[in-house]
C-alpha cells in the first residue's frame, strides 16, 4: 500500500446525505386541504373535512369547539371551558423569547445547510408554538422522546442548540446523554420512539415516580405500527405517557388524508384513553392542554393523546421541494396563522412588552445565531478510530480485532511518511 493510493482513494470525511433526500422526488397530486380555507375566519379553524368530524359524537362534544384555542390568529384571547390559563406579561414575553430564539436558530441551521456546513436540516418553521407550548408545560423531572424536528422542545429542555447539529453535520449520530436533560436522542426511524417512551413510562409507573413521559411524533408516524403498538401497551399498562402528535399536515409529500380517515386525536378512543385536539399554532392553548395532559399522566390516569393541529411552513427537510406537492394558497392561508405573529399581536394588544424588549431580543437572537455559526464551523470531525469506541459497552473481540487492524493500517502511512 502506498501513500499515493490512499490519497487518491481519499477518506470520506462527511456523512452522506440523509435518505429522506430521495423522497423529495415523489410527486403527489392532491386537492388543497379544505381546512386551509377556514383559516382567515375569526372562528376557531374548522376541523378537517371528514365524515366523522361533521357528526359530533355526543352532547358535550357538540357544546365545545373541537379544537382547543385560547388565542385567535388575530391575537385575541378566548376562553375555553376546560383549559383556563392565566398569563402574566412576563410569561408572554418568555414564550415569545423562546419562539423567537428557536426560529432564529432554525433559520441559521437552514442557512448553514445551504452553505454546506450541514448535510441536512429538518426545519421546525411554523411549529414553534406546538413545541414551545408543550416544552414549557413540562417539569424538569418529565422525560421527552423526540423525533428529529424537536429543536424547540430541546431548547425548553435546556439542551444546547449546537448539540443538535452534530448529527446533521455528520460528526455523530446524536452524541448527547439523554439522561442529563431528560431529553432522548433524536429518532430518525418514524414512530420508534413512541415505544421507547411507553417502556420508559412503564418503568416510571413501577418506580411510583411522579413523572410524565412525552412522546413526540408526526401525523405520518401515526400510521406506523410502532405507534399503534405504543398506544396498546400504554393503555393496557396505564403508562404515564403523553403522546404528542404534531399534525403539521404533511409527511414529506403525503397529506394527512393519506394517513387517516378520522381526525387523529380520535384514534385514542379506540385504545381506551382520551385524545384532544389543540390549535398547534396557539402557544397558550398548547401550554394549557399539555400541562393538563402531563398532569393526567402523572396522577395515574394513564396515557393521553394530544394532537397539535399545526403546519410545517418550510420544506420537510433541506432536501425537499414542497412546490412539487403543496399548493401556494395553502401555505399562504397558514402563514396568516403564524404562531409567532399571533403571540406578538397579543403582546401588543396587552401592552406586555416595550420596544426595548424586542430590540434586546433581536440582539440576543443574532448573538445566538453567531454562536451557532461559530460552533458549527469549528466542530471537529471525529477521529477515525472513534468508530470503534462505543459499539459495545463490554467490548467485543471482533471490534478489538478490527480496531487493531485499522490502527495498524493507518499507522503504516505514518511510517512511510517518516521513511520518505
Amino acid at each position: 500500500m502506498t501513500v499515493e493510493s490512499t490519497a487518491a482513494r481519499g477518506k470520506p470525511r462527511r456523512a452522506a446525505a440523509e435518505t429522506t433526500a430521495a423522497s423529495g422526488k415523489t410527486t403527489a397530486s392532491r386537492k388543497p386541504a379544505a381546512s386551509g380555507k377556514a383559516a382567515a375566519s375569526k372562528k376557531p379553524a374548522a376541523p378537517r373535512r371528514t365524515a366523522a368530524s361533521r357528526k359530533p359524537a355526543g352532547k358535550r362534544q357538540a357544546e365545545r369547539p373541537e379544537m382547543v384555542q385560547l388565542l385567535t390568529p388575530e391575537g385575541e384571547r378566548v376562553e375555553h371551558p376546560d383549559y383556563a390559563l392565566d398569563t402574566t406579561p412576563e410569561q408572554l414575553r418568555g414564550l415569545y423569547r423562546d419562539m423567537m430564539l428557536t426560529r432564529r436558530f432554525d433559520a441559521e441551521a437552514t442557512a448553514l445547510q445551504r452553505q454546506g456546513e450541514l448535510g441536512l436540516w429538518p426545519s421546525l418553521l411554523g411549529q414553534e408554538a406546538a413545541q414551545i407550548g408543550s416544552g414549557r408545560a413540562l417539569r424538569e423531572t418529565d422525560y421527552v422522546f423526540p423525533t428529529y424536528r424537536e429543536h424547540g422542545v430541546a431548547w425548553c429542555r435546556g439542551v444546547d442548540p449546537a448539540q443538535l447539529l452534530g448529527m446533521f453535520r455528520g460528526v455523530n449520530h446524536g452524541g448527547w446523554d439523554p439522561a442529563s436533560n431528560r431529553f432522548h436522542l433524536y429518532t430518525i426511524v418514524i414512530g420508534s420512539q413512541a415505544l421507547h417512551a411507553t417502556g420508559y413510562a412503564m418503568g416510571v409507573l413501577k418506580d411510583g415516580a411522579d413523572e410524565a413521559v412525552l412522546a413526540y411524533f408526526g401525523d405520518g408516524a401515526s400510521s406506523q405500527g410502532d405507534v399503534a403498538e405504543a398506544f396498546t401497551f400504554a393503555a393496557v399498562y396505564n403508562a404515564p405517557v403523553v403522546f404528542f402528535c404534531q399534525n403539521n399536515q404533511w409527511a414529506i409529500s403525503e397529506p394527512t388524508e393519506r394517513q387517516t380517515r378520522v381526525p387523529l386525536y380520535q384514534r385514542a378512543q379506540g385504545y381506551g384513553f382520551p385524545g384532544v385536539r389543540v390549535d398547534g399554532n396557539d402557544v397558550l392553548a398548547v401550554l394549557a392542554v399539555t400541562r393538563a395532559a402531563a398532569e393526567h399522566a402523572r396522577t395515574g390516569q394513564g396515557p393521553i393523546l394530544v394532537e397539535a393541529f399545526t403546519y410545517r411552513m418550510g420544506a420537510h427537510t433541506t432536501s425537499d421541494d414542497p412546490t412539487r406537492y403543496r399548493p401556494k394558497e395553502e401555505l399562504e392561508a397558514w402563514e396568516a396563522k403564524d404562531p409567532m405573529l399571533r403571540l406578538r399581536r397579543l403582546i401588543e394588544r396587552e401592552d406586555a412588552a416595550d420596544d426595548a424588549f424586542f430590540s434586546e431580543l433581536q440582539a440576543e437572537s443574532d448573538a445566538l445565531a453567531k454562536r451557532v455559526r461559530e460552533v458549527i464551523r469549528t466542530m471537529p470531525d471525529p477521529d477515525g478510530m472513534a468508530m470503534f469506541e462505543h459499539t459495545y459497552a463490554d467490548g467485543h473481540a471482533l471490534v478489538d480485532e478490527e480496531r487493531a487492524q485499522y490502527g495498524a493500517y493507518l499507522a503504516s502511512f505514518a511510517d512511510q511518511h517518516e521513511g520518505n
Partner: protein, 326 residues
Amino acid sequence: MAAEKMALAKALNASLRTALETDPKVLVMGEDVGRLGGVFRITDQLQKDFGEDRVIDTPLAESGIIGTAIGLALRGYRPVAEIQFDGFVFPAYDQIVTQLAKMHARSLGAVRLPVVIRIPYGGGIGAVEHHSESPEALFAHVAGLKIVTPSDASDAYWMLQQAIQCDDPVVFFEPKARYWDKGEVDREGIPGPLHAAKVVRPGDDLTIAAYGPSVKTALAAASAAEEDGVSLEVVDLRSVSPIDFDTLQRSVERTGRLVVVHEAPVFFGSGGEIAARITERCFYHLEAPVLRVGGFHAPYPPARLEEEYLPGLDRVLDSVDRALAY
C-alpha cells in the same frame, strides 16, 4: 450443593429465577410468559412467585415488546424479553437493529441497554412454518448486538445469567430441539467467559465447529467416526457474535481440517464467515478447504422434509470424508 441433573429448559427456568431473585431490576416479559409459563414453559411458575410486575404478560406485539424493553432499560431496568418462536422475531427486527443495537453508540457511550432477547430457534420438532428457523446470521451482521447460544443445560443456566448481567443487548438463541436434553448443572460453579468457545471433544484428524442444536449432531458424528478410526475434535462455539476464533484457530492448526455445522442456510451464513476467517488465519495449516454443512437456500421445509434439510449425522460425516480426502 452438588451438581444437579436437569433438562436444558429447566436450567433456563432456574437461571431466570436466580436472576429475578438477585436483581430487583430484572424483568421477564413476553407473550404468554406469565400464567402459562411460556409456550415451552421456560418461565413456568415465575409470575406466581415474582408477581405480574416482574414477570409481565405483554400484548401480542413483538415490536412493542422490544421497543418497550428499550424504554424500560433506559429507565434502569434489565428486561429479559421472550420472543415466542424464531420466525416471529421479524416484527421486532426494526427495533432490534435500528434502535437497540445502536443507542449505546449514538449516545457516545452514555446509554446502556442491558436487554436480553430470548429466542427459541432451530428445527427438528415437526412444527409448522416459522417455528423452526435459525436467523442468527441476520443478527450477527449487526454491530452492537451480541449473540450466544448454549448447547447444554449447564451453559443454558450460566450463559443466561451472564447475558442478563451483560451491559450490551444480547440475543440469546435457545436450541428448542434440545430443551428436553438433560445435563449436569453446578449452580455453585464458576462459569467460563460468555464468549469463549469450548472444545467439547478432543480429536486429531479434523475439527468440527458447531453451536446450539448442532453440537449434539457433531458429537454424534465424532462418535460414529471413531468407529471408523477417525478422530474428530468438536468445538462448541457457544457465541456467534463475537466468535472465539482464537480457540478455533488453535484447534484447526493442530488438525488441519475444519467442517462447520449449523442449521441455518449455508449461503451468507455464519459458516461462510468462519471459513473465511479461519482460512485467513490458518492458511498454511489447512490440508483441505473449510467445508460447511447446513440448511439449503430454500424456505424451511414442511415437517416431513426437515430431516433432509437439517444437517444430520450422514451429511456431516459426508463432509468429514470429503475434507479428509484432500
